[in-house]
């Protein structure tokens, strides 16, 4: 799908929102929204798993932290548009292509957040946990991870919101791709405001909504953070 819009005239008059279009397209809009959510959750979920593995490795073997940081950083620096496109010879114009690219964009922030979260657990707390007789696995699951949660969740927020913003770009791969991006590309191709607005506004709303939800989730999971006060 080409999005080159040279020569499209700005003079075409149209209302900002043609409500009839929206009414006719409620089904596709819902479908696109669900696809958008699905792509996001899968990407962040897989990213979380992979980053956890990388983080566990980097915590155990400190020397690998910088190399992993650098590699995931380079993956983040590659423009999303290009990554979607470059994967097509390998995995085709499919959702898999989109997912691979989306996952790779989450890796650096999640990796760094997990390592930072665990590193910030105070040394005295870690020592106590060890001294009281918790096994290594108990220390990790009962003490270190819960305390690392605030930092991990803040990284998760960034990764989620970034992914929501990148999903539409995968619409370059085809008209059935890209979640809400389909409307954006459609609107650009036909120079039609309504789908542009629907796609753009819903994407922004989705990003903010997920961000707020994750903040709430973090508050629920970490009640001790809110109650801190100096005595």
């Amino acid at each position: 799908m080409s999005s080159v819009l040279s020569g499209a005239s700005l003079g075409v008059s149209q209302p900002l929102i043609r409500w009839s279009w929206i009414g006719d397209h409620l089904g596709p809009i819902r479908h696109a929204l669900l696809q958008h959510l699905a792509l996001t959750f899968v990407a962040v979920g897989v990213g979380l798993v992979l980053s956890s593995l990388l983080a566990a490795f980097a915590i155990r073997f400190r020397i690998t932290y910088q190399p992993i940081n650098a590699v995931t950083g380079i993956m983040y620096a590659i423009p999303s548009l290009a990554l979607f496109i470059l994967l097509t010879p390998i995995t085709g114009l499919t959702e898999l292509t989109a997912e691979i690219a989306l996952v790779s964009y989450t890796l650096q922030i999640l990796f760094r957040s997990i390592v930072a979260g665990i590193d910030e657990v105070p040394a005295s707390v870690r020592e106590s946990a060890r001294a009281m007789g918790l096994t290594r696995s108990q220390q990790l699951w009962r003490v270190e991870l819960p305390l690392a949660l605030p930092v991990i969740v803040s990284g998760l927020r960034i990764a989620t919101v970034t992914t929501v913003g990148l999903v539409p770009i995968s619409g370059i791969l085809g008209s059935d791709q890209g979640g809400l991006g389909t409307f954006m590309f459609d609107g650009l191709a036909r120079f039609f405001y309504t789908p542009l607005l629907v796609g753009g506004v819903l994407t922004v709303v989705l990003a903010v909504a997920l961000d707020v939800t994750l903040v709430r989730l973090q508050r629920v999971l970490t009640p001790w953070v809110r109650r801190a006060h100096a005595s």
């Binding site: 080409s2 999005s3 080159v4 819009l5 040279s6 499209a8 700005l10 900002l16 380079i74 983040y76 620096a77 590659i78 423009p79 548009l81 290009a82 990554l83 496109i85 470059l86 097509t88 010879p89 927020r157 960034i158 919101v161 970034t162 929501v164 913003g165 990148l166 539409p168 770009i169 370059i172 809400l180 991006g181 954006m184 590309f185 609107g187 650009l188 405001y193 542009l196 607005l197 796609g199 753009g200 506004v201 994407t203 922004v204 990003a207 903010v208 961000d211």
Partner: protein
């Protein structure tokens, strides 16, 4: 490794270095977008961050700004801006400015906040005006952090500017889009290579700037605080 070979061939082809679609032209277009976006973002975020950072009152407002900024999807913003600004560079610049402002703002804010209050107090006591204090004391000491914010924004802008090709503008994104249209992956890779090169240049540039900024005043201040506050 076939791909690498094709990439090499592409860069060796002199035709790719001339004309409207030549490397110099596209790089210039890309850097033009970057320059406009960074200039506007700095004009908003640096004074904003510095002034709000100096004042004792503001606190959570700024954290919220930074957080909201992160939640903005750039492509969606471009698309929405097209409605009012049409195709071309303008909507891209809007989105890139929105992308660049939060990190610059946050780092400027934090940078000026973490300047030792005692240093500022003594400057005030010496009779410096507030403007002078900001210029001669706080900004130099906050410079490493301010530069860090600029570095991050700059890299993000360079890496996001290729989206301009989707709305009829130029820049290195054109190689990506046009290459894809004719399935010339060498061209696509060339576009990516050039973008990544610019990002690396960005890192080097700012690494040098941060080093230069960390030398004089910041080092003197660090040395002073090291001597003045020995642990008992």
């Amino acid at each position: 490794m076939n791909g690498v070979h094709h990439l090499f061939v592409w860069f060796n082809d002199p035709a790719n270095w001339h004309g409207v679609n030549g490397v110099p032209r596209r790089v210039l277009e890309h850097l033009t977008l970057w320059a406009w976006s960074m200039a506007i973002a700095c004009a908003i975020a640096v004074p904003g961050g510095l002034l709000l950072g100096r004042s004792r009152r503001t606190g959570t407002v700024t954290v919220n700004v930074a957080n909201i900024g992160r939640a903005i999807p750039s492509f969606a913003v471009i698309v929405l801006s097209v409605i009012w600004l049409g195709l071309g560079n303008a909507p891209v610049v809007v989105a890139l400015v929105l992308l660049a402002v939060p990190p610059i703002f946050t780092f400027a804010f934090t940078g000026v906040r973490q300047v030792d209050a005692a240093t500022v107090e003594s400057a005030r006591g010496m009779g410096m005006t507030e403007a002078r204090i900001l210029r001669s004391v706080q900004v130099p000491l906050a410079l490493p952090l301010i530069l860090n914010g600029l570095r991050l924004s700059s890299a993000a802008v360079i890496a996001t500017a290729p989206l301009a090709a989707l709305v009829g503008s130029g820049g290195l994104g054109r190689y990506v889009i046009d290459g894809f249209a004719v399935r010339d992956f060498a061209e696509v890779s060339a576009g990516v290579t050039l973008v990544v090169t610019l990002v690396v240049c960005n890192e080097l540039l700012f690494a040098g700037l941060v080093r230069a900024a960390s030398r004089g005043p910041a080092r003197r201040s660090r040395a002073r605080s090291r001597d003045g506050r020995r642990k008992t």
